[in-house]
Symmetry: D2
Subunit: 423 residues, 4 copies
């Protein structure tokens, strides 16, 4: 039987090579682009995920380890105040040096040291925990690498194609209305135990288990589609303040939003930009790249609401973790599946689903000790929880308890909408 440690060793190799695989089709120049402060260059993602293993595993657990380059600890630290000064986030796109080639050598150097370390017999449990965290950290950055790169490419007037699609899926307009799938509610445990075993990973912010009281509720059987979103637009959704939060309405007007991000209208036809280029808008696909403000306004317009993270988590627990994920290489959302009206579709993968839950500490939450305590806890203000994963998510990242989080105005992630209501 494979031990948890053996599994992690194999996962290490897989995750690290998957990251590199994502950059197929990208040049060193592409990988230097930083389109906004929220996003980072692909090259920086490669360096930062590697720095994570060097700073938190090798420096601590590999006696005599020689760092590849001390300067990289200044360049590739993201936001860990306790790990020293760092290169300013808005200027990550100015790092032409180290070159992509140097960063690749840095990866090799660290990979060799890591594999050598991991084959030693007597590593303390915390080392394995940090390894596991580092792998999940890198999987998160895989997703960011895709969405950040797409955002950068969107500044090119001529819609570069990053990944060629061999078969472009046919555009359809056949989706049946969603049904409402009832959930019992009640006083239910949510979250996970803070006592984690290696191989059973979760972030600190998913813990501890605690009780939430839920009124009986329904979730829509599937996410909102592009076709449904077009109805909202046609009905003046982006021009009518009655649907919007006050901050959302200010944002719509300040930014001039009239459609989801990456949508373009040419001669009265809608298209949207994807890593596969500019594709015709498919009415049946799940809507994507909408902000919390838009998701919330849409729900109000539709006479419904967004689910809470707890409603989502409790309902999703019983479903298998399957869906359109990063590995499939189709980097756009899917369509409704034929099937029972009483089941929830597309819970995992496809599009991240905004919840109405602010990203907060669960009762009794204790951040990890030291630098790792900065991973999640200090972001618990002003952001909203998203659940389920997207076509940009590595499949192994996903679980019912996973809490993704973004600010309500952000929409460059693969974010969509599932409606909820009370019984």
């Amino acid at each position: 039987m494979v031990t948890a440690q053996e599994h992690l060793l194999s996962l290490y190799q897989q995750v690290r090579s998957t990251t590199i695989g994502l950059t197929d089709g990208l040049t060193a120049e592409d990988m230097l682009l930083q389109s906004m402060e929220d996003a980072s260059p692909a090259k920086w993602h490669l360096g930062h995920t590697t720095w994570f293993f060097e700073a938190l595993v090798l420096d601590a657990y590999q006696p005599g380890y020689q760092r590849f380059n001390d300067q990289f600890h200044y360049l590739f630290n993201s936001y860990y105040e306790s790990l020293g000064q760092r290169h300013p986030r808005p200027h990550r796109g100015m790092l032409s040096r180290p070159s992509l080639e140097q960063v690749m050598k840095f990866r090799l150097h660290v990979d060799e040291a890591m594999l050598s370390l991991l084959q030693s017999k007597e590593l303390p449990n915390e080392c394995w925990q940090r390894l596991e965290l580092g792998l999940h950290h890198e999987m998160q950055h895989q997703e960011l690498l895709i969405t950040d790169q797409l955002h950068a490419f969107s500044f090119h007037h001529f819609h570069p194609i990053w990944k060629t699609l061999l078969h472009q899926p046919p555009v359809t307009s056949e989706a049946a209305p969603h049904s409402w799938v009832a959930q019992a509610g009640g006083l239910v445990p949510v979250g996970l135990s803070a006592e984690r075993r290696i191989g059973d990973f979760a972030y600190d912010c998913e813990t501890p288990i605690h009780q939430q009281y839920l009124r009986p509720y329904c979730l829509a059987s599937r996410p909102v589609t592009n076709g449904e979103w077009l109805e909202f637009m046609t009905d003046g959704g982006y021009r009518d303040p009655q649907w919007w939060l006050s901050d959302g309405w200010a944002c719509v007007n300040r930014e001039g939003w009239q459609a989801p991000l990456y949508w373009q209208n040419k001669d009265d036809e809608w298209f949207r930009y994807t890593p596969h280029g500019l594709l015709p808008l498919d009415p049946d696909e799940s809507v994507c790249h909408v902000s919390y403000f838009e998701a919330d306004a849409y729900a109000r317009w539709a006479g419904a609401r967004l689910p809470t993270e707890f409603e989502w988590e409790v309902a999703a627990r019983n479903y298998p973790i399957e869906g359109r994920c990063m590995e499939q290489g189709l980097w756009f959302p899917g369509k409704p599946l034929p099937g029972s009206d009483t089941a929830l579709q597309h819970l995992y993968g496809n599009v991240w689903e905004w919840t109405q839950s602010p990203y907060l500490a669960f009762p009794g939450f204790e951040p990890l000790q030291g630098a790792l305590g900065e991973y999640n806890g200090k972001f618990m203000c002003g952001q909203f929880v998203l659940k389920g994963g997207a076509f940009t998510s590595p499949e192994q990242l996903l679980r019912a308890s996973y809490r993704n989080f973004f600010y309500p105005h952000q929409r460059w992630q693969a974010t969509g909408v599932r409606l909820a209501r009370y019984e």
Copy 2:
């Protein structure tokens, strides 16, 4: 026995004259000041609260009512999109016209019409509801008038005195440490029924009653004092990122915060500016004019946390509504009271207490119909709930279920801190 209607009639007269009483000591020039977009001139508060009765009561329920001046509906609408275009909020301080004298005439005109209307026998229930809402609305603006005016005066280099204090309270430094007062928690009902009777007022956002599960917890017996806050400062609290949320740390650095708002250091002595002028800082008084970011950082430094709004509400329900309120005319916080370690002090009045709860809809929340639905619901994003009231609050405004709310960076309200922890 006094009917609810008779009570409202008497309350109307009291609230309206109290508002005017607050402006004692202010000139027409003082009452025109607008120091920032968040704040409004006192004169505008006088006009806006009056407009509320004209637009929502007299226009609807007084047949043949003649408005004082149609233009005032453009000038004194605050944020009701459904009630038409309005004067831009950042330019309220540009309204030298109408003059204060005209606004006072507007008040008289509306007061006469209101009193005449309210003496008629057959008013529909909704009219009484709107009247009651209008009175609570005006009480909220009484508090804002004080805090906005103080903020405006803080731009005067020479610390104008608005209200002379006959007896300046002695500075003391004798406060004993707070004790922890245990609360049972459990599955408890919070909030109020959406079915309200006249005379039993609550905002829509305080409804409906719903269940919350609370772990057993403790609240500090009293709010944090200035003396305790000075320890936080001396310990480098404003310079150490480990205590701060990421957004809070950015705010501290962007704004250059080193102490609560209105604190000034002269020759190594601390003072703080109040409506009574610049007073020596009293170590025993509750700390005031701190933001959520500061409250949260302080709590982390102190090894504790902020309470949730539900923890606060459940614990406070059993206490009488008494404390230092606006009517007492001492417009600064109080000091710890001698007494039992097992009771909570200063719950009502004194300083608003930040909770860790974002201002969100309760499950099943339904906003009021029409324009009044804009009163609360559209602000449910990005703000935090404060409980209990302050020295700036009209006493009748306060109740355990009252949910005040502000953004985490704001600190010009009379906001303080009470610590909490789990058992």
Copy 3:
């Protein structure tokens, strides 16, 4: 015969009372408004011009003089770094205190002391020079008081009337095209001698006399009219980059300019806001409230150019100083006068005329010593010279050598356009 000193004494009384006269029709609230950093409240103008005499004359030359209030030296210093710290310019509108009444008392206090001082026999020459400068300074502020107050009133949606016009002038559309009035040019002296006698005032920046070589040139016989400006607008002038400086084009797009400041279109008719209220646009009047960028673009569109300050000064020297000035109380521009095609009209008063000359030191320029050296010299960067005066200018301010100056994007002064070309 009246001595220069006697003249100044009489001028002092006249200027000081004229300033107060300008505020007829304004309330204390009106006089507190500050609409932007560039502008100041009327009350502040009253205080600042008075401070000037106290700080630069009374403090220096009146032994035993008792200041009205030391704090006023902090509040009413404008930009004299050498005279100490001062209230931040963007917050002048926050000075509800001192009250207008207090500022009027300050004026009386200083006026009494000044009149007493000026009647003493043995004042040094520099004292008279400072007095004279102070009077011209106050006349400059008279003009600013009008334009700043108008700008502030323009934020009122309902167009307050400050000065009632008894007879509203008829709207006409009869102006003949301007003619070109030829000027010889050559090597000519411009500017004034730095040796000034009392009673023959000029600012330091108008000195010294120096030589400029001018090609033969022509000036338009009159300023551009509203009707001509409408042609520019109709021809797409505000939408075509070919007429604009690069910085001007950026400004047009950033600010959304489509017409001069204060113009409004209602139901296809043009109006413009003035101290006399919203008046129909008169095609024959000189265009006003245009920026340098607009003046320059118009000139290019018209196949002409703006004059240099030297071309203007040399041509204007031979004309009497007469025109529509502040004292006439018609606070909008005039119309072409019938008369010879070979003469220049409206050189003085009417509208300030933008020149293409940056505001620079004349060769050999020496600023005054001490604080007064900050009056002009430190602003010699990025601004353009305007000549001739406007309907807002006190008549005694005007002379051929006077150099007014503003930034190219500013248009809240009474600024218009006269065209020039080479022979």
Copy 4:
């Protein structure tokens, strides 16, 4: 004898290959960096200078010419409104595509077509004029390429070295004080005739010849040195408002300037960053990377002034065009030369010398027709003229009449100071 046309053909080959030579030591990643809106990536400079020949020469004069890629006309147009829409300037650093390799192919494609075109016998004169303009345009961009790249590298914390210096020059501190070199002044012709022959190139803004009257004056024999600048700093030059223009003082405080750009103090020793890395500051070298605001403040502190562009041009006409230029590959300023006190040193090359002259049209200036008229004329507002060239300038760019121009706050060009005074 070589004809002007033959000379241009040879110059074409030289200029084009020199541009490529400048990029030695740069990677494709380096060449994508854009550090601010004012600067452009090196790759963009390569594309833009090539587009200039394609859009203005080949499209017009080569029948049947096939463009390399139509999209490049959107991507590489800089600011020519009359040549169509273009990629937004602030986002030039987002152009990872086309790749550097593609841009190099674009250069080859255009070079081949150009060489073929230029060998044909019957080209109209305007074609040669455009060719010549294109070459001078590219030489200007060579200079910008160096200064923009240096600015981009300055965001790297670890001071990348672009060009290795084989022999680092010794640091010295031996410079004698400058002498004053007297100039006669008088009514003198400046500028050049607008009638240009091929091979005798000048920009339109250097024309026409016109008369300027100059008072007798002196120029400093050499530019200000780093050592002299350190005295200014030590004397509190950056902290004392008396030396500064009002806009300059605001800039110093807003930007926190305490020294020239690229200066760094480590352990009380000064260094400055250059394309050759971080080098110790040499007191004898000419000071460089100072803004107009700093140059002007320094001159006032030194009891002198900046020269006018005309004073500089008239004095420099009689000197040979020689000095430290780009081709020498020493990309930092030089030191005083031993020699006569009566001669001017370092007029050409070394550092650009700020003049007090705003960049304006000469009397009678006519911009070129069509798109080329946008080259200079539309920038004649708010900028100051610099004379003489710098170590970053191609030698063939330089002549006494050349007018370089930048805004007074800009300091990323190789800009220094020569003092002037009147006799």
